[in-house]
Symmetry: C2
Subunit: 561 residues, 2 copies
């Protein structure tokens, strides 16, 4: 299998007749999916999502793909195709459209409605191009055919790109529920037809490639939810993803059956379900819904609250309920249902929420003790079907961390894709499809772009490293004032420390050392501000390290007056 | 079920004939297990462990129980009984013995040997009292009977305490492997005999109370390890807990069978296995072991490396191999076996290690894709046996977070323990056993004591809060120098910022505002240093918040010259 060499150089110019593929996200990580296709000087983008930060990226709101690779070529972009409306596929669209607002945004009806409502918040009015499964649309040199796929949001699509270089099938995210709630199956017939025609490159969702077997049907969850409703004597609180229309539908159906009213809580939940309802994807029995503000006026036994916060997000209603920092006070009579997966990285946060709710007496039902969630991604057994039906000449696993990409590559090899036709690429690796072969030809920059508050890219990896040091060790700042003409110390040293856990009184011990060291430096006759800073940093750093075996950030400040 | 009221007051004096139980750790958390028993004015401590920090406790090395409750009564302690030698049961012993070095330390042969070798590093020579299962020993008014229990470390014990208040059975950590590697079963017969005699209070390990069914025998892992060895063509690296003698034994046996030499890596691994070997708990075939330094001289196909780092600890060899920051360079031929559980809170770190190793091509075998680990704690099905055999009058779940304590309490209720005889307590809650009833009577302080470098307790929750703010947002410090006689600004404002992601040049914008605000404050005629600080903090804080929607820590420094 071909995989990236650590010192890949910049790619050569794209040969005539070749299709170039560069993922700016989604390869080597779960999130910020974005693939850039290039043919004949024109670009087509598939998905443009965000990645959510990990604990070693403190304070960060979102992580975007780095648009640098396409920044000078924004005008060459024919369209951005969105396979579905999850944040890891659409979340970065507002940031891309800030750079060129009139890029055509292509997607299914629900996908476009959801991205449009999101863009409204960013005050952007997108140029939309709606497509339906089974249709073919051309965007410049790219002839695109769309296929229905089943996923944990309605109206998801796979896309096949036809150019002179061959046929590429990009599955997007998908699963293969054979009894889907909305009857919309992943179009394996279409995949088979494409396979018969000849798929030159398959790019397929690797998220669950390590999970053996098959994913249970979404339908199997309904009896579990029904059982929860049957047993619950008082209030029911359901937390799930704000875009999981089918899961919300199941809760609405159960509420209707058991004579309970439903209120939605959480901005994204209210917004998305409003869109889904308006377009008919969510069927709401008349008189079922309450406004969240009304819920306290109803007896607990007659209501269901559906909210966000299933990933332990600290500001979401659910976390605040767990901390007793919310008007809804959890009691021993409450039933809380976490009807969602546990996204890797959120384990600790979700555990805290479960413990908090349990502490106040709530009965918490979650993935760990009942089948209240099924994954939205095809497992290994199902991925084999797609490989066998499409019989691709070349295979490139997408949407996954290294462990998932490798596992998917092994599945492809088992179905007969030759090892040297399997390309494992990570973000930024340039893959050319030419003469029926996909090959790694170079790499471009594809680092993280951090969104923090209103700043995009302002927080760099250097700032994050500082944050990690500050977060682990705190800082000590030492201010001295020197006379700029004589170079003599006229004020300070004044010590400030936060997060270091070192008592300020303890610094008394280092002050004489410091004064002595500064004097000595001055005696050399070369005492300048730079050198004074060095002396302060060295003296205080050594003292802290010797005394406390710690390494807080040392900030020497020399003010000249 | 009785459970702690948020505003429990201090407990009343202990009535004559009553036994008092206060857990200073282990209730509401997995770790720092420590229970203090009091009878007739004397104290007995069972276990004294550490808790490992979570991501929201940055920079912390260890968390200890707060000894405040017993600090004035150290001389009343008859003994510290250690049920087994895991860190969460013995890790805080050095810190307790610092306060009174001659407390008798009670435990089995291996437990005492391991704590002794640990205490040697702290230059403490403990007063040891070795016990064997089946024996009875009295420590002051506490008559203790010890029972063999099976766990993921050899020679673990449960303990029954007899006083006039009744019989309390404390299980320690245990599982119920019916085919244990060393033939040492959890003594259910002994538990049954005690049950017939009348157990007044059962305190039982809740770690796996949410897990239905039964834990697979440790013996089932051997064929999996054998299979890994059979398939591995080149180097094998095994990571596991440094105290898991049986797991290491299985790896040694497999290495011996497949003609490989073994090297141990990691200080605690080398230390513990040395002790276990000396005492005959680890059986090492002659000529099998290599020194870790020799390993590079042998062909990869002939060696096995056993190391620590299975929890993704960043400084351990395994993490460094995953980051290519270790002399052992991972290649496509390597097989890495993570033969351990995934301790909650470490998911992200372990995932990073697996992805890192996979990136370099290693085949990584872990709990998620093969049965290479079984839990050390009895699951719900097994906990029911203990409840049914001991038929306790009162039940108090121990060793668990809230979710585990509640789940265990439910199991007890199902076996017939009356709801009002089940006591769910958290750390610091005081439980008295009197006249055959266990009741919550108050609470004492039982907060976290943080170890950071050489400091114990120096880092407080306030410092941690500062670290979280600094870690999320960084800081901005603004230094101004004022003439102490005139009150006039003579230097600065000089701005320093780290981790804020705000370009220093951007501060140009706020400097005039700041100067203006300081002037205005001075015009009031009340400008003092405190007020200047307030003005700086408010002005800069508002500017950052309006411009960047962020809240870095603002540190105003006013130096008077």
């Amino acid at each position: 299998m071909s995989h990236p060499h650590p010192d890949l150089g910049p790619p050569p110019p794209l040969p005539a007749g070749a299709l170039r593929i560069v993922a700016l996200g989604g390869l080597g990580e779960i999130g910020r999916n974005m693939a850039v296709f290039e043919y004949g000087g024109r670009l087509l983008v598939v998905d443009c999502g965000v990645l959510f930060p990990e604990p070693d990226q403190p304070g960060i709101d979102l992580i975007l793909p780095d648009f640098d690779y396409i920044r000078d070529r924004l005008d060459d972009i024919e369209a951005v195709i969105l396979t579905h409306a999850h944040e890891d596929h659409i979340g970065a669209v507002p940031y891309l459209l800030r750079e060129r607002p009139d890029i055509t945004v292509v997607g299914s009806r629900l996908t476009l409605a959801l991205i449009e409502s999101k863009l409204t918040e960013h005050r952007i009015q997108p140029v939309k191009h709606e497509v339906v499964e089974g249709e073919r649309h051309s965007f410049g040199p790219f002839e695109c055919e769309f296929f229905a796929v089943n996923h944990s949001i309605p109206d998801a699509l796979a896309v096949a790109l036809r150019t002179e270089a061959g046929i590429v099938l990009h599955t997007g995210d998908f699963k293969m529920d054979q009894l889907p709630m909305d009857g919309r199956l992943t179009d394996l017939g279409g995949f088979a037809r494409l396979g018969a025609e000849g798929v030159d490159l398959l790019m397929s969702d690797s998220t669950n490639s390590e999970v053996p077997g098959f994913v249970t049907s979404e339908r199997e969850i309904a009896p579990v939810i029904d059982d929860v409703f049957r047993r619950a004597e008082q209030r029911i609180i359901v937390a799930c993803f704000a875009s999981h229309v089918h899961r919300v539908q199941q809760v609405l159906d159960a509420a209707d059956k058991h004579g309970r009213k439903v209120a939605l809580m959480g901005r994204s939940m209210v917004r998305n379900m409003g869109v889904a309802r308006d377009l008919g994807y969510l069927k709401v029995p008349p008189g079922l819904m309450l406004d969240a503000k009304e819920i306290e006026q109803w007896p607990p036994k007659d209501v269901v609250l559906i909210c966000t916060g299933s990933q332990g997000e600290p500001m979401a209603a659910l976390s605040r309920m767990a901390n007793r920092d919310h008007p809804i006070r959890i009691t021993e009579d409450d039933t809380v249902l976490l009807a969602s997966s546990l996204v890797p990285g959120n384990e600790t946060a979700v555990n805290k929420v479960i413990n908090g709710l349990t502490r106040w007496g709530a009965r918490v039902i979650h993935k760990g003790n009942a089948r209240v969630h099924v994954s939205g991604h095809a497992a290994a057994g199902e991925l084999l079907y797609v490989l066998n039906l499409t019989r691709p000449s070349n295979f490139m696993p997408v949407h996954g961390e290294w462990r998932h990409l490798r596992a998917h590559a092994r599945l492809a090899a088992l179905t007969g894709v030759p090892d040297d036709h399997i390309v494992i690429a990570e973000d930024g690796v340039v893959v050319d499809l030419l003469d029926g072969r996909a090959r790694i030809v170079g790499a471009v920059k594809a680092g993280y772009v951090y969104v923090d508050g209103t700043s995009v890219g302002g927080v760099t990896d250097v700032a994050l490293k500082d944050r990690r040091i500050l977060g682990d060790e705190g800082f000590i700042s030492i201010v001295i004032v020197v006379d700029s003409t004589t170079g003599k110390l006229t004020g300070g040293p004044e010590v400030h420390a936060r997060g270091s856990g070192i008592d300020l009184d303890a610094f008394e011990a280092v002050i004489p050392q410091l004064e002595h060291a500064l004097e000595e430096a001055a005696l050399d006759g070369v005492a300048d501000v730079q050198q004074m800073r060095r002396v302060v940093r060295r003296t205080v750093g050594r003292w802290v390290s010797d005394t406390y075996r710690r390494r807080p950030m040392i900030i020497p400040v020399v003010v000249e007056v």
